[in-house]
Symmetry: C2
Subunit: 421 residues, 2 copies
């Protein structure tokens, strides 16, 4: 039955059925969670040897440096080389950070806010108004940074190829628009992969603001879920053609390669931006944890080692994603719901206009925690109340099945309620 | 001979002798360094077991948390408890950071600069003028933070009991004076220990600025060099008596307990300041490296374990400090030079008015790197050109002896040159 064309009687019958199922769910006192993109314990177990790969005093010398002591503002050479190989850049364009690319992004935004960019632009904090472009659905932690700094966020719709570039090109004519957040590969949450055309248009942007910055969060660069290891264009190479290299900051980390809490993050930037960053960063820090960098270098050896390791993650994750997709397919036909079969990353983006908040509440009351409805939009406000982010990675398969059963009942019930008006 | 009372002839003879000695030094092509307070390799070797104390997947669960995964913004409970015991506070007043208290101090200053304090004060960046008090001689990295933010730094003289509190109490009548840097125990570089009276007067301060903040850098809290394990008054306890708890931020780290590059840092603050910090920090970070926290907890067990460990550091460091003091005593009598026999910390503060820059240059040309002359003063400008910071920890004893021979020759030569006018 297609709920959208059903009679009132049919809908009432269905609602009664679903309500009975829902009440059964609630009675089970479930405690399920599909809220955040956390790797499961079995994924974390894959990196066990990381813990002991640096074990003796002798192991703590690498690249001729005592890793235990002070120093190394931009990271140890071999760790910069590892990330450079992985990200297709040169080591001198890589800055190694601590355990979180989020912190590197925040600190980069803060530097622009307080000090102005590498070409001596006015610090954004001194301007009347700063606007930032936010492709939607997007990553709530990106938006929180803008919100904390009091920027005005402008949503830009995404499709399977990335953000709407006509709209981006139009919006950047406003000098108050200072930048944009991008997750170019296996986007959070839609899984979209930016097309060559989208990346080329980003690289060629001519914003009115000379200090416009692209925050290129390459969080899922090697996080494939299928045998198709999708590669995207190198935005720095493209930007070079237009003299736009200073416009781009790229971020990545091993949070979802080794350990979310104890991985290594990095930033990639132009020569000018590296100089600017290191000068300012040198007052904030002496250097990130070099022993943990060395652990990663020794554990992986090289980029091929990382890619091999990611296949083990995919072997664990792909069946979970497939189960979610299968259950959506089986249960939510004819409800108006849509979703994307992501080929990588950590999320499945789910849309059912007018129902997201209600689905979230129903799930919550049945013991299933989902990411807040609206979280994928700036200010937590989804104008269509449509999008929910499904994170299948953390629960074991058996729990995931329970969680998706609850989710599908809740989504269908919300759709029926909406159809009944 | 006392250089200050010597005849011109005597001085010229001495100068010729010293110059000959100096030329001999230069001819050796030495490569010595007494510049930074880095622990030596033998000290770092003491923490070898830290590397392997968390070795299996099972080890990565502590306090009921998977240390490998996301979370834990303020640190794991057992690590907060360890620092709380060490610093005489409650775990709920402790915030664990990454590997650097410097970064925690910088970020705290940045939060005050951009967002204003826990009581909703005007962000310092919005004020016409912000002044900060800097006890001298002091720590260059503290001063760099103020300088980067464009604050006006006001030097406050230190003696053996801490900063000149009459001057502090006078200066804080100016509402533009927003804070002060303090290293209350074994101060960097003088080794001074703040007296009870100084701490009580800090705790009782009534600055004109309601958002005045004391940056209490307890970097050397357990870093004794003698059997006398000096304890100072708890500034938070004292501040409570005056309702001044929100005025104080304390910092500490294991940088000079385990590893400078891979230790654990923390901040201690009032309940209000903890709430304020966590709210803002939650946008910058998900949580610091929990595995490294657990390593420290398991390696030390408790505060007594840390104190036991510090005795091993003292056994290595104390002879180095003694050698420096002995050589100063033997060689620099009658030059006008003064120094302090620190009972803890990492430095010996050396003074010879009008000679610091010349000594630094002479040392440099003879292959001995010292901390820049002036570095212990705001803007790197020592008005008396007097102070140099000697850091005896890094060189092995044999090199340290060579370094101090060079240093003493240079200092004496500079004194003679000055006496000759």
């Amino acid at each position: 039955m297609d709920i959208r064309n059903a009679s009132k009687e049919e809908l009432l019958t269905l609602k009664a059925e679903l309500t009975a199922q829902y009440d059964e769910c609630c009675a089970k006192n479930l405690k399920l969670n599909m809220a955040r993109g956390k790797p499961g314990a079995d994924q974390l177990d894959l990196s066990k040897d990381l813990l002991t790969v640096i074990a003796t005093n002798e192991d703590t010398v690498m690249d001729g440096t005592d890793l235990r002591n002070y120093g190394g503002l931009d990271g140890i050479p071999s760790c910069k080389a590892l990330f450079a190989e992985l990200l297709g850049t040169k080591p001198e364009n890589v800055l190694i950070g601590g355990n979180a690319s989020l912190t590197m992004m925040y600190d980069n935004m803060m530097r622009l806010w307080v000090f102005g960019d590498c070409n001596g632009s006015t610090p954004w904090s001194k301007l009347e108004k700063v606007k930032f472009l936010c492709p939607v659905p997007g990553y709530d932690r990106h938006f929180s940074i803008c919100q904390q700094l009091g920027m005005e966020m402008i949503p830009v719709p995404m499709d399977d190829n990335g953000p709407d570039m006509n709209m981006v090109e139009e919006l950047v004519k406003d000098e108050a628009v200072k930048g944009i957040w991008c997750v170019p590969k296996y986007s959070n949450p839609s899984g979209a992969v930016y097309s060559d055309e989208v990346i080329q248009r980003f690289a060629a942007l001519k914003p009115a603001a000379k200090d416009f910055k692209i925050m290129w969060d390459n969080a899922y660069v090697v996080h494939h879920l299928t045998d198709e290891e999708i590669e995207i264009l190198d935005i720095f190479e493209e930007a070079k053609k237009h003299g736009n290299e200073d416009m781009i900051f790229m971020f990545a980390s091993t949070s979802k390669i080794t350990y979310p809490g104890a991985g290594v993050a990095c930033m990639v930037a132009s020569e000018n931006n590296m100089k600017w960053t290191k000068k300012l960063l040198g007052v904030q820090a002496i250097g990130p944890d070099k022993i943990n960098q060395a652990r990663h270098v020794k554990f992986f050896g090289n980029a091929a080692g990382v890619k091999e390791h990611m296949k083990k993650h995919a072997a664990i994750l792909a069946p979970k994603f497939q189960m979610v997709l299968d259950m959506l397919e089986q249960n939510l036909q004819g409800t108006g719901a849509t979703w994307l079969a992501a080929k990588g990353g950590y999320f499945i983006s789910f849309d059912l206009p007018g129902c997201a908040t209600r689905i979230f509440e129903l799930c919550k009351n049945a013991g299933l925690v989902m990411t807040d409805a609206g979280a994928t939009w700036p200010y937590g406000k989804d104008p269509q109340d449509s999008n929910l982010r499904i994170a299948p990675s953390l629960p074991p398969v058996s729990e995931l099945k329970d969680a998706m059963e609850v989710f599908c009942i809740c989504a269908k019930l919300a759709a029926v309620e909406k159809a009944l008006g």
